[in-house]
């Protein structure tokens, strides 16, 4: 059962091996008219979804526990620094707070599903649903039920962060070089991430930023800072020192 879809994944990996086109994508969505006054809000940082590893020669994800632990630490530090600059108070979600664990996990999953839908159906021109055209604004939510969660009480917003990094292995890079010599495009490395802010009183998604080609090596403190700057691009509570941050 573990590799039921494996044939499909293999073919996909091989297909990706051959395609090098990058499709134009919008990266940020903001609820219309929404602005966050700097220095006024409490933000709860949900447990970030972080995965760091290598990309094997054949394109498989090789998870690396050390790198992921490093990234978790560095990204956390960089995030609280960036928010302190904004004057916002960021608290990490306390997992041990009460028996709401399963419900909070479901909201996190719901957020991921909503974020995926935004990226899929609104951020790519040409693939927008009729109700999600540009002039229809930015209207997404996880539902008002989130306001009833006791463990999130006292906070105004919940910040969700997700990053996934696969650094090209030596074999993958060799394959890329050999492929280049023969005129075959092979991509190496995957660096995706997104961040979103949910209003804890209404459940509305007020801001989402997603990027499928992110910069910054999350395994180092400096790289993590760069990644966080990119993740927070367009954050309603400006200004982070974005002008200095060119990817």
């Amino acid at each position: 059962m573990r590799i039921n879809n494996f044939a499909r994944a293999c073919l996909l990996a091989l297909a990706c091996c051959m395609s090098a086109t990058v499709i134009g994508q919008e990266k940020t969505g903001n609820k219309e008219g929404f602005a966050l006054k700097p220095g006024t809000v409490k933000i709860i940082l949900m447990r970030p979804v972080i995965g760091v590893g290598e990309q094997s020669t054949g394109g498989l994800y090789e998870p690396n526990a050390d790198w992921t632990t490093q990234a978790r630490g560095h990204l956390g530090t960089a995030l609280s620094e960036a928010q302190t600059q904004l004057g916002n108070q960021v608290m990490p979600y306390e997992e041990s707070a009460g028996a709401e664990g399963p419900l909070v996990t479901q909201y996190s999953q719901l957020f991921n599903a909503v974020a995926d839908s935004v990226i899929e159906y609104q951020f790519f021109p040409g693939n927008r649903l009729p109700t999600k055209k540009r002039d229809k604004g930015f209207e997404w939510a996880v539902g008002p039920g989130i306001a009833e969660l006791k463990s999130l009480e006292g906070a105004d917003y919940a910040l969700f962060i997700s990053t996934h990094d696969e650094y090209g292995s030596t074999g993958r890079k060799m394959l890329q070089i050999v492929g280049m010599l023969g005129g075959i495009g092979v991509t190496s490395g995957v660096h995706q991430g997104y961040a979103g802010l949910v209003d804890l009183k209404t459940g509305e998604l007020v801001w989402l930023n997603a990027d499928r080609q992110m910069g910054g090596d999350v395994r180092t403190p400096e790289g993590a800072q760069k990644r966080v700057r990119q993740l927070l691009e367009g954050f309603p509570g400006k200004p982070v020192a974005l002008t200095t941050a060119q990817p």
Binding site: M1, R2, I3, N4, F6, A7, C10, A13, L14, C17, V49, G51, G53, S56, T57, G58, G59, L60, E62, P63, N64, A65, D66, T68, G101, P102, V104, T105, Q106, Q109, G171, L175, V178, G179, L181, G182, G183, I184, V186
Partner: protein
């Protein structure tokens, strides 16, 4: 030449020692050490967080404790100390093992197992996957084969050499490796089963029953009954027939064992039966569901739960004759002590659809009286008004 070497390299990796029952000594609180193993454990830890908090998990009662007790009895307390078992409401015959010691047991398995020994046979198989670190070796195998496939694709593209056949064989080798792991886990699991005093033949009987159900399922769908004698190219598991055969043969060499503990098993599952049945009846598998129902009824007699589930099954197929049958099963279920008012609603709907309005009205009114605040109360009221 380089292609051949590469291909051979990839083929030589899935070398699994068969028939080797010697186990590495048990290590308490084992921690993975290599980069690869720590990586797959990390992924599993994240997966287990989701599983732990999953809405599908059956938290009520002591079901998960019971399952874990069965495993501990089978593999011994020291080995089972590293295992967490999660029971989930998924109506398929399955269980799975994560590399970090988290085991998932589907409700479909619990509905089908006929005694504790059959359950233990599956739990032992899953535990063997853990003990033998199959997730790790499976990952390494997939990586090796896809690495070779990627090189073949690029080099073949450059040199204009057809490589599709070799790539196809490499892909097949991944599935072959997986089937070898399954057989290995079957045989080690069988050893645990026999050692713990359960009847060793139970493992084979699991697969025999599953084949019979597959036949019933195919008949119900008006499909040809297909007996698969050996695994296909893309099969992840050996054919059920092959498993039943080699498990029976191997069990013959082991101590036969004693009590299958059918009563203890039925007592432990009884509180969940109606929930498991409800999930099964929604699968649109008339033949398979009938097979399961009549099998349980053979052991316990037609209880209210079973009759109600049978009514649901017939009502869902909804031919006039099915609705007539369904109404009869609902009535019998009521006589057998099935008390939930939803029975009246479903009886009423079956009767109404077949034009027996008077009796239908009585049943629907009874439902409304018992559940005035039900989410479908307005719809039922509207039906009554017509």
């Amino acid at each position: 030449m380089a292609f051949v070497l590469l291909a051979e390299l990839a083929f030589s990796r899935p070398a699994v020692a068969k028939d080797d029952f010697t186990l590495a000594p048990y290590v308490a609180a084992y921690e993975p050490s290599t980069v690869d193993e720590r990586g797959v454990w990390m992924l599993a830890d994240e997966g287990e967080r989701q599983l732990r908090d999953s809405p599908l998990r059956i938290r009520v009662g002591g079901l998960e404790t019971y399952l874990r007790n069965v495993l501990c009895k089978e593999v011994g307390n020291d080995r089972c100390a590293g295992i967490r078992i999660y029971a989930v409401e998924v109506p398929t015959f399955n269980a799975s093992m994560m590399p970090n010691g988290a085991m998932q047991v589907h409700s479909g398995l619990l509905l089908r197992a006929r005694n504790e020994a059959e359950l233990a046979a599956v739990l032992g198989h899953e535990f063997a996957h853990f003990e033998l670190r199959h997730s790790l070796y499976g990952f390494k195998n997939r990586r090796g084969a896809t690495d070779a496939m990627a090189w073949l694709t690029v080099l073949g593209g450059i040199s204009n050499t057809p490589v599709a056949d070799t790539n196809f064989s490499l892909l097949g080798s991944i599935y072959q490796f997986n089937r070898a792991q399954e057989t290995e886990a079957d045989l080690l699991g069988l050893k645990y089963l026999a050692q713990s005093g359960y009847p060793a033949q139970s493992a084979s009987e699991v697969w025999q029953a599953l084949m019979a159900e597959a036949d019933a399922s195919a008949l119900g769908r008006k499909q040809k009954v297909k007996a698969k004698y050996s695994a296909g190219f893309f099969d992840t598991h050996p054919a059920s027939l092959a498993r039943a055969y080699y498990l029976a043969t191997e069990a013959g060499k082991l101590p036969p064992g004693g009590d299958a503990r059918a009563k203890e098993y039925n007592d432990a599952i009884a509180p969940y039966i109606s929930r498991f049945l409800a999930a099964q009846m929604k699968l649109n598998d008339f033949g398979g569901s009938e097979y399961i129902l009549s099998n349980i009824a053979e052991r316990s007699g037609w209880t209210g739960d079973l009759l109600f589930a049978r009514g649901e099954l017939y009502r869902a197929r909804a031919n006039p004759r099915d609705l007539q049958q369904a109404s009869e099963f609902y009535r019998q279920a009521k006589l057998a002590g099935y008390a939930a008012p939803e029975l009246d609603r479903n009886l009423g709907l079956s009767l109404l659809r077949n034009g027996q309005s008077d009796e239908a009205r009585i049943a629907l009114s009874a439902y409304l009286a018992a559940r005035p605040d039900a989410s479908d109360a307005k719809a039922i009221t509207a039906l009554l008004a017509n």
